[in-house]
Amino acid sequence: MIDVLYFAWVRERIGLPKERLATSAATVAELVAELRSREDRYAAAFADLDALRVALDQELSSFDAPLAGVREVAFFPPMTGG
């Protein structure tokens, strides 16, 4: 089981901030492919990966990173703090 978090417009498009999933995805990209195939709102949120960032266990990562041992995955747009 893995916690998946969504922020900003990713959260809005998917319609929830967090969910717990059972997945056999080996990488972030595989998890994204699974999510896309679930429902249109996921497909819309993940339409353009260039517009997205991913964090694994609260560290910025990349879409080809492995998911082994990861407990928390977060998807969000490029950050706009400061």
């Binding site: 978090l5 922020f7 900003a8 417009w9 959260r11 964090a55 609260q58 560290e59 910025l60 977060a74 969000f76 747009p77 490029p78 950050m79 706009t80 703090g81 400061g82």
Partner: protein
Amino acid sequence: MATRVQAAPFDLAAELAGFGQGPKVGAVVTFTGVVRDDSGTLRHMEIEHYPGMTERAIAAIEAEAAARWNLVDSLIVHRYGKLAPGEAIMMVATAAPHRGDAFAAAEYLMDYLKSRAPFWKKEFTAEGAEWVAAKSDDESALTRW
């Protein structure tokens, strides 16, 4: 070194009381980010963040600045939630023996906070609400460090 992430407003003067004391401090630089209203139509802004990761990311940025420059102290305060035009969003303060270190560290902290700390801004106007897009300038600002 200190980091705070909070919904409540902060007071720059109160934050600086007691900051950067000691005989080695010759230079204190502060940066304050303020909610701008260029068009005159902004009602308010909402800042979302990623609790847990936010604090970690900021602490890592601050530690990197402390490793790169000769700093005596640094402070980062960043707000989330609802902010009105003119309100302070965040502040950075650096204290160093010399001005070059204090300025460079403050700019470095700002550049990294902009693009590497998990905050997202949404602007609310009479016409509706819109997420602020990241600027490519902010991303390319990181290449100078």
